[in-house]
Symmetry: C4
Subunit: 229 residues, 4 copies
C-alpha cells in the first residue's frame, strides 16, 4: 500500500472514531479530537479545528508533521490536505508522538466526570476491577498548562511515561488518552469516563473499598494478555 | 436577496437550530426557544408558542417587530406569517435586540444544571479551561423577574452588558444566551449547560481549584481570535 | 363518529403516547402506563399488562369500564378487545375517573427523580418558575398504599382534589399524573420528572431560593390562560 | 426441533438481547455479556470475548459445555462454532448453570449505579414498591473475587441461593443477574440498575422510608403470580 493509500485509510478511521466520542457522549459541539500516527512516518492525522462532528468527512482530516505543521505530500505524491486548520490541540498530540514512540493514537475530550475530577486536581482511585483491568491502578492528574506551547504535551508525557494508565486528567482541563492505535486511545477515553462516573457516584454516599495492589496487578496482567480475541 | 427570501432563509435556520436543543437535551416538551434578528431590519424571527419540537416547520416561525408584534410583510411583499402566536418569551428576546445592537441571536432554555444554579441564585465559577475559552470568567446570575412586561429583558441586558459571558442565569428561571447570530447563541446554550453540569459534579466531592484571572484572560483572548477556521 | 370509531381513535392516541414515556426516559421495561377516558361513556382505554413498549399496537389497548373490567362492545357494535389483561394499575386509573369527572387522562411512571422524592415521602418545593407555571405550587406526596384494592386510587384522589398540581408522588412508589386528556397527563408526567430532577440537583449544593406565593399564583394564572395557541 | 435448530434459535435470542444492554446503557464498549442454558443439555450459549455490540451476529455466539469449553457439535450434527473465544466471564456463567438447575439465563454488566453500590460493598435497601415486586427485598452483595477460577461463580451462587433477589452486586466489580431464561435475566439487570439509581438518588438528600417486610412479601407474591399476561 502506498503512503497516499495508507493516509486515505487512516483518515477514514480517524473520522469514523469521532462518532464513538458522540455516541458515548464524551464531547459536545466541537470540543474533542482524535489523532493517529502514520506508522513509520514523521506524520500524524488529526481532526480539523471547530468543525461539527456531524459534518466531518475523511477528506477533512488534516495530515501534519510531528510538530503540527500541515504537510500536503512527499516525493511519492499528494494526499490533498483540506484548506482547514488542524485542531487547536494539535501541538499537544504532536508532542506525545515525538516523545512516546509506542503511542499510535491520542484522544482529547472534556468528558463530564473525568473533567470534574480534573477540576479538583484529584486522581481517580482504583476501586473497580474494571479499573484494574484497563488502567492497572489510579488515573493520574497532570499539571495545569495553558494552550499555545509545549506545556500541555509535556504535562501529558511526564505524567504517563511512568504509569500503567493510558489516561491523564489535565488539571482544570480534561482527559487525554493514548493507545497503540487511535481505536485503543478512544477505548481508553470511553473507559476513563465510565470509571470516573462510577467512582464519583460511589463516593457520593460513602467510601469505596480499596483493592489490594496485588489484586490490581493480577487483574491488569491478565487483561492485557488474555482478554479479547 | 430580497427581504422575503432573507426571511425564508432565517426561518429555515431558526427552525433547524431547535433540533440542537433537543439533541443536547436542553429542553423538554415545548419549553425553550431560539430567535434570530433579521440583519439590518427592525425584525426578528422566533418559535411559535407551545408547538412540539418534532412538529416545527420553517413556515411556522413567526416574524415580529422588535417589540414582539407579528408583522406580515412590508412594501416589498408578504412573508406569510402563520396564524400562530410567537413564543411567550418573545418580549424578552425583543428587548435584548432593542438594547444590544451587536446581538443577532437569543436562546432560552430551562436546561437542568444551569437552572439548578439559577434556583440557588448562584453564579458558576470559572474553574475549567473550557469556561475560560467560551465565557471569559464566571457565568452571572440575573434577577428574579416575572413574565409579562420588560422585567426579564431588562434583567438579561443589565447583567450581560458588562460581562464577557454570553449566558445569564435568570434566578429561579433558567439560562438566556446571546450570540452574533442564532447559531452562536445556541452554542452558548450548549456550552452553558455543559460547564454548569461539570462544575456542579466537581463540587459535589470537594472544591474545584480556581484558575488565575490572568490565565482566564489568556484563554479567552486566544479562543475568541484563533479557534476554528 | 360512532363509538367504535371513537374507541379506535383513542386506542391510537393512547398507544402513541407511550412513546413519549420512553422518549423522555420516564419508564424502563414495561413499568408505566397511560390511559384515557372515553368521553361521555363509562369506559376507559389502557395499556395491557407486561407488554414491551416497542411491541405495543393500538389494537392491544384494552377497553374497560370504570371499575377496570374489560368490555368488548355495546348495542352499537364490537370494538374487538384483545385477549390481554389490562395494566395491573387499572384499578387506580379507574378510581380516578370515577371520582374526578374532569379528568380525561391518567399516567403512571416510576420516573427516577420523582420516585426518589417519593421514597423519602417528601414533596417537591416550588422554586422554579416552570413549576409555578405547570403545578401552581409544590408537588404533593400521597400515602403508602398496596396494590390490589382501591387504596392507591383513594390516595391519588384525596391528595389531588384540593391541589392545583396535576401530579402526586405516591410514597415509596412513584408519580401519578392527571389531565383533561391523556396528552395533558403525559405532559404533566414529563414536567414532573423535569422539575423533580432540577430541584434535586439544585438542593445538592445548597438551598434553592423560595418563590413568593403571590408570584407563583401569577405564573400559574397566566400560564393556564395565555400559553400556547 | 433438532438440537442444531434449537441452538440456532438460542444464538439469535442471546445475540438480540445484548441490544437491550446498550439500549438501557448498562454497558460500554465490550464490557458485559448475556448467556443462556440450552434446555435439557449440558450446554450454554454466550457472547464471544471483546467483540463490539454493534458487530455481534448470532453465528458469533459461542456454544460451550457447562465448564466453559467450546463444543462444536454432537452425534446429531455440527452447529458451527466460530473461531472466537467465549467471554472472559464464561467460567462464572457456567458455574451458575452447574449449581442452580432452575437458572436458564445469566447476565453480567458493570452498570453505573449498581457498580457504585458494589464498590462500597453495600446492599441496596428495599424502599421502593418496584423493588418489592421484582426483588422481594434488598439486593445483596457478594464477595470480592478475582477472575480466573471458580471464585466469582461460587460467590454468586452462595449469595443468591437463599435470596429472593435475582441480582447480586459482586464487591468492587458489578452486578450478575439470573432468570428462568436469558430474557428474564436481562430484565433483572435492567431493573437492578433502575432501583440502584433511584435509591441512590433518594439517599443523596435524606433517608428513604423503609417498607415493612410484610408489605414487601405481599408485593413480591402478587407480582410473581399475577403480573403480565
Amino acid at each position: 500500500m502506498s503512503l497516499v493509500e495508507t493516509i486515505a485509510r487512516i483518515r477514514g478511521e480517524v473520522c469514523a472514531l469521532h462518532a464513538e466520542l458522540t455516541r458515548y457522549e464524551l464531547v459536545v459541539w466541537t470540543a474533542g479530537n482524535v489523532s493517529a500516527r502514520v506508522p513509520g512516518q514523521e506524520l500524524m492525522v488529526i481532526k480539523p479545528s471547530g468543525v461539527s462532528y456531524n459534518d466531518l468527512t475523511p477528506e477533512q482530516m488534516v495530515v501534519t508533521d510531528l510538530h503540527g505543521q500541515p504537510v500536503n505530500g512527499d516525493a511519492t505524491g499528494e494526499w490533498g490536505n483540506p484548506p482547514l486548520s488542524p485542531s487547536s490541540d494539535t501541538a499537544a498530540h504532536a508532542y506525545v508522538y515525538r516523545h512516546m514512540p509506542d503511542v499510535g493514537g491520542v484522544v482529547h475530550t472534556h468528558s463530564t466526570y473525568a473533567t470534574a475530577w480534573a477540576a479538583r486536581g484529584e486522581s481517580i482511585p482504583c476501586v473497580l476491577t474494571m479499573m484494574g483491568d484497563e488502567f492497572g491502578g489510579s488515573i493520574p492528574v497532570g499539571p495545569f498548562a495553558l494552550i499555545g506551547d509545549d506545556s500541555i504535551g509535556q504535562g501529558i508525557v511526564e505524567t504517563l511515561k511512568n504509569s500503567s494508565s493510558p489516561a491523564v486528567l489535565m488539571q482544570n482541563h480534561g482527559p487525554f488518552t493514548i493507545g497503540k492505535d487511535a481505536r485503543s486511545a478512544v477505548k481508553a477515553a470511553v473507559m476513563c469516563e465510565e470509571v470516573a462516573r462510577t467512582v464519583h457516584i460511589s463516593r457520593q454516599l460513602g467510601e469505596p473499598i480499596p483493592i489490594d495492589q496485588g489484586h490490581i496487578d493480577s487483574l491488569y496482567a491478565r487483561y492485557q494478555n488474555v482478554y479479547g480475541q
